[in-house]
Symmetry: C2
Subunit: 500 residues, 2 copies
């Protein structure tokens, strides 16, 4: 996992998320062992959709679009899994057992809402006998709107059910201390996000038409993303010259934002317009469903962009698989199965194990260290790169799968997990520099090219520690994990291994 | 190889050999490839017999006695090999093609010498018809001496042939700017060295009696050793309370020392009393002969003291073999064979290869890294320790043997050398911390005990670099060796590997 946005920001020194970035370098101690049905590690601290490298949360798929290695944007399974897991974790840590505050503005049944409908528009309440449900059907001309008053609310999670028929748009008017902004979700736009003056437009695309969709949006984050465009990686030479980089940056205060009105335009059907204080589980399942939907025949979630490491000495062509992506998807799907009991999640997770058995040289994610130790590669390069943090994330996913999935997937996952843990315990010292850790073993596999050790910067070093503590908390024989973690914690405060 | 005396001295800050010690941290560049018939590496810079850890050069064997891990003193083959190789190397670098200055004071032929013989003594010139040689036979009572004037000379290497019959003693009177000191070499003492006022007494022991011995001593160093007693390792708790530690320390200026007189006492025979400016090759062959003489049935030169590492987690019981000892002995014996053509040296070297094939768990010196790479262990511990510098010294010895020895030993050595070089090239990155090097891989083999990386202090780090440069100079494919050496040189001036 790379987090270049953090260091980039640290260098610039003006990052509004500095405190959050800084928390990457924190060691998270836990008094209880890791529970694969509970929060995922320390991911409740993540705000994935806010990250620079996230273009926006797609209105087509409900999951973030990455611009990390391609400015045109793509679905990066690791980022999506972390998005899912952060929401799953926040569900536990933010609200605990309390139910989120919820206000229904229209459901076609008790709540008919306060509408303002132009004369030219057709808006009609209909009944579906099969589901015993009322909803509204609408046909509103371009440049006109049918408006539903939301009464100023401080709850920013919008949920609704939408059937887009043609040129369907949802407008949400928000006020920031009296100043109006508009969020637009429209099938007339294929782009992920576009900003025009005080309007932030999310493209749902034509493919969203012709079906009912459960629509869940964080209005605060959706608005903010329009005015904090991704700061594209300068080193890639891809700093974009589009309007995004010249756009005015605004930092909104979430508590100052008030949704005022929801408007509809075009043709479609609408039901259950609701504002809630928190919608983490809906967001989580949206992402879990994405993993079920896009999984390919190999059980994989491939990465559609090229990945270059070590100045191009290591290269992965578009379509590569990542053991970290597979592993984090397992963490998502196992939790989705645990929470819902739906077999589709267990099935997808089971298939997700397949690539752990396929060598990296044959399109899988499995490397071997000196022919002896199996290693699940975040980046299955040739030669192998042995990235430590990605491997441990993969192990955490295998652990989750082994603990939660039904048989035979649980046993398969358990075997892979044990195999990986044996490797981890044996090879962990190779990552210890005596004053820090190395990110990978490229200096070994690329020794002939004179590649130096790739020292882990402190946020990765802290991640290594946190992963070791977590894996150690559920290991029957955690000696090596704990003693290395303890030593590595010491390095963060300037301690060094002794010299002779 | 351990050199604790250096750091001990550095801590005290009063080491008269500081400059020499400091040279341990130097990188020695060479414009020409390493030549196994020439100087051994940078060993011309070594003054082994001056080291704290050397009790003295034994008058019984002509080789140094170590007190490194045992205050009672023992023959440490690595130290003896370095003693031999330093003299071999100085022979080339100090005098080049020039012959040392030599003054014969008595040879029984032309040079009868200027003797002063007490009345009670019997001193007679005799002739051995077999060797066509005259010598002197003597019988001098206790407390009397037969004196041979040496005329004040600045040459401090004493050579003579001696047949000790009973209670035989050689006295040498030296003056340091007029102040007299006596060196005594006597079969009446078994101890290595003893100091009484202005007399430094070396024990030749009873075993020296009854045979002709070629006796070569550095009078300057022999005297100095009496007044700069070994500074025993405080951490071992063995700091001795004997007179040695209370003895007055004197730093002699070599050029101020003048041999005045040689005296004989007891019964024996004497010939060829000579002072020379330099006797490196004689000293070298004395040590080479020691290796031939004491080699055991396994072809080994075992170490007769216990060795503990990693706070006792690694332990070798007395009688262990060291790949470094075997390798450095090969460097000695190959050169002795090259210089003399004598088969006994080639035979001993050939037998010295045997232990390289014996696993360290079975009393040999051969370890394996993850069952894949052979490693010749300086300390063949269980689990393995993988000490880098000792391994590279072993490789240098194998190279010397492969280049110099006759068949079949050359081919055997060559195979072992190539096997070891493959391991070195593959494993070298494991010793790279990104800002220095580790001394061994104990943190890997003892990971379960929580053992941290054993960072190499700078003199070892410099040794690693010098060994890599040397091995690289004769390697057909030195890429890894040279690139690592270059990076490690950078670390010495504060450079670090990049972090991500
Ligand atoms: Ca309804
Ligand atoms: Ca003679």
């Amino acid at each position: 996992m790379r987090k270049t946005e953090v260091s980039g920001k640290l260098v610039e020194g003006t990052d509004p998320h500095f405190k959050w970035s800084h928390s990457y370098s924190s060691v998270f101690y836990s008094k209880v062992p890791y529970d694969p049905t509970g929060p995922m590690a320390w991911f409740q601290n993540y705000d994935v959709e806010v990250r620079d490298r996230v273009k926006a949360v797609s209105a087509k798929e409900g999951v973030p679009v990455s611009v990390q290695w391609s400015t045109s944007g793509y679905f990066y399974p690791i980022q999506i899994a972390q998005f899912a897991l952060s929401h799953y974790s926040k569900h536990f840590t933010e609200i605990g057992a309390e139910k989120p505050r919820e206000t229904v503005y229209f459901d076609g049944e008790d709540k008919q809402g306060s509408w303002k409908i132009p004369d030219s528009a057709h808006v009609e309440r209909l009944y579906d006998a099969v589901s015993s449900n009322h909803y509204v059907e609408f046909n509103v001309k371009a440049k006109e709107n049918a408006d539903l008053s939301l009464e100023p609310s401080s709850d920013l999670i919008l949920k609704l059910d939408l059937y887009s028929a043609s040129n369907t748009s949802i407008f949400v008017k928000l006020e920031d201390r009296g100043k109006p902004y508009y969020l637009v979700y429209t099938t007339a736009l294929e782009d992920v996000i576009r900003v025009e003056d005080n309007r932030v437009i999310y493209g749902m695309g034509r493919e969203s038409e012709g079906k009912w969709i459960r629509f869940v949006r964080d209005l605060g984050k959706d608005l903010q993303k329009g005015y904090a465009p991704p700061n594209l990686n300068p080193s890639s030479g891809a700093r974009n010259k589009s309007n995004a980089s010249h756009r005015k940056k605004i930092k909104f205060k979430r508590t100052a934002l008030k949704p005022i009105m929801l408007s509809i335009r075009g043709q479609g059907k609408l039901d259950n317009v609701t504002l809630v204080s928190s919608g983490h589980m809906e967001t989580f399942f949206t992402a879990a469903d994405w993993f079920v939907k896009v999984q390919d025949r190999k059980g994989g979630w491939s990465v559609p962009v090229q990945r270059r490491m070590a100045n191009g000495a290591l290269k992965l062509e578009p379509g590569w698989y990542s053991a970290m992506a597979q592993g984090q998807a397992l963490s998502v799907l196992a939790r989705a199965y645990h929470s819902s009991g739906e077999q589709k999640y267990a099935d997808a997770a089971g298939s997700g194990l397949d690539l752990f058995g396929v060598p990296s040289g044959s399109g899988g994610v499995r490397a071997e260290f000196l022919g002896k130790f199996a290693w699940f590669e975040e980046y299955p390069t040739t030669p192998s790169s042995f990235v430590l943090n990605g491997f441990m994330y993969a192990l955490m996913g295998l652990y989750d799968a082994a603990e939660i999935l039904p048989e035979p997937a649980a046993s398969r996952a358990s075997r892979l997990y044990k195999e990986g843990m044996d490797s981890l315990k044996a090879m962990l010292p190779l990552f210890d520099t005596g004053s820090g850790s190395v990110y990978d073993l490229r200096h070994m596999t690329l020794a002939e090219s004179g590649v130096p050790p790739n020292l882990a910067r402190w946020d990765y070093h802290a991640t290594h520690i946190n992963q070791l503590l977590l894996l150690g908390s559920v290991d029957p024989d955690p000696g090596v994990l704990n003693s290395v973690a303890k030593r590595w914690i010491g390095y963060m405060s300037g301690k060094r291994a002794p010299h002779n």
